[in-house]
């Protein structure tokens, strides 16, 4: 059963449209992530679910309970029974940890004994039992974030909403917290909507990801689908690093296409389902470009040799920039290559082909998004 259903949500701020008919379905018990650059509408979507923003039109249902319907139904946030973790944590500084966590229960008139039991239980879950009597300013950032999570889980909620909860933590702690959240969520089993602009975070914690851009959902899929089969150039470019090259489809039969890539002598035969011919853009991930070393350099077809423009050592891998047909291309490898020149080949099975959409709303595909 879908736990959350958004249908045609539109929101306009002055003349700027923040959400264009956003429709999403979140399944029971999954971690569903809204991923996109800032201003893409992911937070507006989350606040619409929480009831803190009112969309202009569309409908939102939690299971079979409609909480918003074109403004005719608009359930107040306090009656939606969501648990929300804010980016700022929003822990009330005048209440102790236990009071913060107990607040939702108090509002629900839970008897004192049951309330105290539940607060203990939730604090144990987030490993903060020893800090129940502390005040927020006595806690570290990571602990505050767990208090916010405990408070969001206390009532318990029908839906857990997380707004960039890890963005204020340092890199190490952020990484640990992601793992911890994923484990915790599978224990609790609550349906979770997670908002982030960090693609690593989205890929590592989510069951499914919706990539958003300028108020539209560009693709919904598992992390692997999003990364390996991006639906369009925006998704390809935003999630992970993508080399984007100009090419021309000269033959296409519905399963494969033959491409001429600018700067590559031999045509490439790649998996592709479209039959249209003409100019396209192709995307290939840096780690998928094969570096030909030493003796086997001349073996496969469609190799090319290029001068290394720049290189960098990043600890666990090396990164080289070369040019193919004038376009800068990034290549990564775990083993250093000989300096000066690089002989590479483009693996056909890892190349994704994108036609220029005539009715495209994406005026600037390659605008820097980070």
């Amino acid at each position: 059963m879908p736990s959350l259903q958004l249908d045609g949500i539109t929101k306009q701020f002055d003349r700027h449209t923040a959400l264009h008919e956003v429709s999403l379905t979140v399944q029971d018990g999954e971690i569903f992530t809204l991923l996109g650059p800032s201003g893409c509408g992911k937070s507006t979507t989350l606040w619409s679910i929480a009831g803190l923003h009112q969309p202009d039109s569309g409908s939102i249902a939690f299971g079979d309970r409609v909480v918003f319907d074109h403004g005719r139904v608009n359930v107040e946030p306090e009656h939606r029974n969501c648990g929300v973790v804010f980016q700022s944590y929003a822990i009330w500084p005048h209440m102790s940890v236990a009071e913060n966590v107990g607040y939702p229960l108090k509002l629900r008139k839970t008897p004192r004994a049951a309330r105290e039991r539940r607060v203990r239980e939730v604090l144990e879950l987030v490993e903060l039992s020893r800090h129940a009597g502390r005040y927020p300013h006595e806690l570290s950032g990571g602990q505050q974030q767990r208090v916010a999570l405990a408070r969001a889980l206390a009532h318990p909620p029908d839906l857990l909403l997380l707004d960039e909860p890890f963005s204020n933590l340092d890199a190490k702690l952020r990484d640990r917290s992601r793992q911890w959240l994923k484990t915790l969520q599978s224990q609790v089993g609550v349906t979770t909507v997670f908002v982030t602009h960090d693609q690593d975070e989205a890929l590592s914690v989510s069951d499914r990801v919706a990539v958003m851009d300028r108020g539209r959902v560009r693709q919904v899929g598992t992390p692997a689908e999003i990364y390996e089969h991006p639906a369009d150039l925006f998704v390809a470019d935003f999630v992970g690093t993508a080399n984007i090259l100009a090419a021309t489809v000269v033959e296409a039969d519905g399963t494969h296409a033959v491409l001429r890539v600018d700067g590559v002598a031999e045509p490439l035969k790649v998996p592709h389902t479209d039959r249209r011919l003409g100019p396209v853009r192709i995307c290939v991930r840096p780690e998928n470009i094969d570096i030909q070393r030493g003796a086997d350099a001349s073996h496969p077809r469609n190799t090319l040799t290029a001068k290394v423009d720049s290189q960098a050592y990043l600890g666990d891998h090396y990164r080289y920039t070369i040019r193919i047909g004038g376009t800068p291309v990034i290549v990564t490898t775990t083993r250093p290559a000989a300096t000066g020149e690089l002989t590479v080949s483009l693996p056909p099975e890892d190349i994704r082909v994108f036609h220029e959409e005539a009715d495209s709303h994406e005026e600037n595909h390659h605008a820097p998004v980070h």
Binding site: G51, Q54, E78, Q87, A90, H94, Y103, P104, L107
Partner: protein, 581 residues
Amino acid sequence: MSTAPLRPPPARIPTPSPQRPRRRGISTNASHYILWAVALLVIVGSVLPVVAAALWSTPLYESGGHPTWDNFHALLTDRTWWTAVTNSVLFAALNTVGSILVGVTCALFLTRTDVPGRRVLTTLLLVPIALPGLVLIIGWAAMWTPAGFASSWLETHTVLSMPVDLYSIPGMAVVAMSVASPTVFLLCRGTLLSIDPSLEDAARTSGASPLRSLLSVSLPLMRPAITNAALLVFALSMEVLGLPLILGFSNRISLISTYLYDHWVNDAQQGLVSAGAVFLLVAVSALLVLRNRLVGDTARFTTTTGKPTGVRILQLGRARWFTAAAIALFLLVFVVVPLAGVVLAAFTSILSPFISPWSVLTFSNFSAVFENPLYTDSIINSLLIATVGGALTTLAIAVLSVIAHRSRFRFRGSLQQGMLWPRMMPALVTGMAFFWSFALLDRSGAIRAGLWGIGIAFAVRSLALGYSAFYPALAGIGADLDNAARTSGATWWTAMRTIVLRLVAPAMGASFVLLFVAMLNDAEPAVFLVTDETPVLGLTMLQLAATSIGGTVAALGVIQMVITLVVLGAGRALLGVRPRA
């Protein structure tokens, strides 16, 4: 008109009990609408009867009458009115120029140079803002008038003399400067402290001397602040009543405010006075609207402390001693001597340079105060209004502010404007507004018979002051904190009550302290509302001082001053209350 059914009086002070949201049947939105309507009716709506009274042939509390321009005609053809307007403009202009010169100079020297004793000098300079306005005027009158103690002493014992006659327009402007200069000082100091010191460093590296870089870089950057201060001082000068009443009346120098006062109290020409009030309201509002246009309304909320880190202190060398002496002399004449005058006058049976004050020390002025029921009633009434009224107004400001800033209420913007609106209103107009409102809506006179009438007028008048002390704290509380409460299951009112208002409690305390002091000392609005049963301290003193500067009024002044300083001191110690421009 008399047969029309009476509508209920405008609710006292908009103070919803925080329990209201728990009551079934009133949704959050409906409660917002009700409070909004009551607040705007009391704050803004009360002005309409003044306009009506100006355009009606008979007083509004009498039946009959018809619309007429006669009041305006009478006003505009009255030559004494135009004399009063001219005098007011002259007075305001002199006061503005003098205060800007003194205020800006003091701001530059006391915040940016190594003048010795800066802290003491700054504190002394700011004393007049904290004190009730009347106290200082009484002190000036006792010391610096031609027959005053200090001027006579100077003439008898030295070759010096007081160059300005206080019973003249320039003289009144000099007295007004002692209160207006610190206002200018505060507004300019904030700007000076927030100017990035690297701007002056850039001038230094280009070859400018320290003083030159201060004058050629920072002074021009203060221009918005100076414009702001000038317009504010000018607008406030147009409406002062106490000063011209005490100093100008005896010499028949009439300003707009005294013209209105005189015609109301002595001639009972209420239509004419209402027309004059409309004129005053339009003039003052126009000035303040102009100021908001030029400066932006938010300037009101800039902290007066700025960021003290990174302020460059200029080394003045030997000149610093001279500068300190000049400022100290100014403060001696403008602040210390007048205040000493009040205290001396209060504790002596006669204050004269020909008799040593020590030989005539007495408590009889105080016992005279405590034996006269008019004075004791005034003190008790003012304390009641300040305590109860201050508390209720603080609560009202808090509730209206959260609706104005933390809700999705449709007309919240008008509520924000509404709370600042009383700043636009000259105090006399506020008083007259409530006089006519009560006359129309409360025929029984029940509200005016008690302290509620004056209390409401004082409350509305101090609304903007309390709001400007309260708002920055409210704005500093992240919206996520109440959103978190809402998503946890709290209704809007519960979220406000349990989270937001809890967190701004210290600011509410600070707001209360400022309101207490303002309402304890306020006088002007009471001119129109006072009855024999409801004397208040400020007005009683004003009326007494207008006829004579005796020991009694000085004793009242000392009492008023002591209460004010004790409350402000406690507020500062407990809540960090600072004087505000």
